[in-house]
């Protein structure tokens, strides 16, 4: 194989701190692309100069089809292992990392937790998350504006979250692009702080449409701001009549119990009918 100089810009940045031999596992994407002239391979076998053998090819494929395949693969894996995966999406500055850190600290004694950290601003944030003791892996998205399912699949391989755990994916702070990219999560959770405008749900309808839960953060600041909570919720329901809204403050802890209860119920629902396969160590012991 000499596929080095091809010019694909794959946007899956792999965390190359690990010594996995990564061969860009898309079986058939890379060969032949630089052979611009496959003389003799055309169907018509007519290569007289100036003679075109152009033809139409029906494709009829979703542009995000590849991502969706990876997402489906991730999703099956999560279901098989009883892992509840939540994809946290927000604008920058919504208080997502503070919310996540507090959640990890408060829930770590309840069940196993893990974090995939995709926010590009956050080498500090990753540190804060690791301090909670939860296993975490950072995906370096570089200038990427979202995580994709392929990156997440690799991160899950490395992180190897425990069975029955809750896996949080902290997506890139961006309310546009992550809406389109399914990562295989059970739910998208949108975080909106009241320091942002109450009209964000209709400015970024795709994201609020895709989310199952909206966390309205920083409500401790309500007395100081001119933010209309009811109006914001009404906007969110316009783009997504079924969205659930919880008001909380990750700083003071107000309302966090409701969020934890939501996670517990979602996890229980994921675990209905789930039977863990016997752990390898247990098998060995009985053998």
């Amino acid at each position: 194989m000499h596929e080095h100089d091809h010019d694909h810009k794959h946007d899956h940045s792999h965390d190359h701190g690990h010594s996995h031999a990564h061969d860009h596992g898309h079986a058939d994407d890379h060969t032949h692309n630089h052979d611009h002239h496959h003389y003799g391979q055309g169907p018509a076998r007519a290569h007289a100069p100036g003679m075109s053998q152009s033809r139409m090819v029906q494709i009829e494929q979703d542009i995000l089809g590849k991502n969706n395949e990876y997402a489906q693969h991730n999703r099956s894996r999560f279901i098989q292992q009883g892992i509840l995966t939540l994809n946290l999406v927000s604008s920058p500055g919504s208080g997502k990392t503070t919310l996540l850190t507090r959640t990890l600290n408060d829930l770590k004694s309840e069940f196993p937790l893990a974090v995939i950290e995709g926010d590009q601003e956050t080498s500090n944030d990753a540190e804060r998350i690791r301090e909670t003791g939860a296993p975490a892996i950072q995906i370096n998205t570089g200038k990427g504006c979202h995580l994709d399912a392929h990156q997440v699949g690799h991160a899950v391989d490395h992180l190897d979250p425990a069975e029955r755990s809750v896996l949080f994916i902290e997506n890139v702070g961006n309310l546009v692009c992550p809406a389109a990219f399914d990562l295989g999560e059970a739910h998208k959770v949108a975080i909106l702080s009241i320091t942002e405008g109450e009209d964000k749900p209709i400015k970024y309808p795709d994201m609020f449409h895709a989310a199952d839960l909206l966390l309205l953060n920083k409500i401790d600041l309500l007395p100081h701001l001119d933010f209309n909570v009811e109006q914001c919720i009404e906007y969110a329901r316009r783009v997504n009549p079924g969205i659930q809204v919880l008001q909380l403050s990750a700083t003071t802890g107000e309302g966090m119990d409701n969020w934890y209860q939501w996670i517990q119920l979602a996890r229980q629902s994921r675990l209905i009918g789930f039977e863990s396969k016997p752990a390898i160590s247990a098998v060995k012991e009985s053998a």
């Binding site: 055309g42 169907p43 152009s54 809406a179 316009r238």
Partner: protein, 113 residues
Amino acid sequence: MHEMSLCEGILQVMQTEAQKQGFSQVKNVWLEIGDLAGVEVDAMLFSFDAVTRNSLADGAKLNIINIPGTAWCMQCGKNVPVTERFDACPECGSYQLQVTGGDEMRIKELEVE
């Protein structure tokens, strides 16, 4: 915006199809893009040229077929046109709409050689 990633997705599909269907150059690409898909056509055209440079689709023309947004109104039971996800029903003013079309992002066909 994620137009750049979408174009990378298109390139991947074209490369896979090039192998399957035995072509080496793409001249024209037709996409179906819905009004509600959140895609900026100008950004798409710009990104496409950048992403396909020196690939099998270098210089290919991107043609975008627009698909209008449509929704079904739960209140009045009609199919109605919409331009945004949060549009009210033009018939009865309800926001209880189920989008039924216009969120497509599909590669329809290619002209190749």
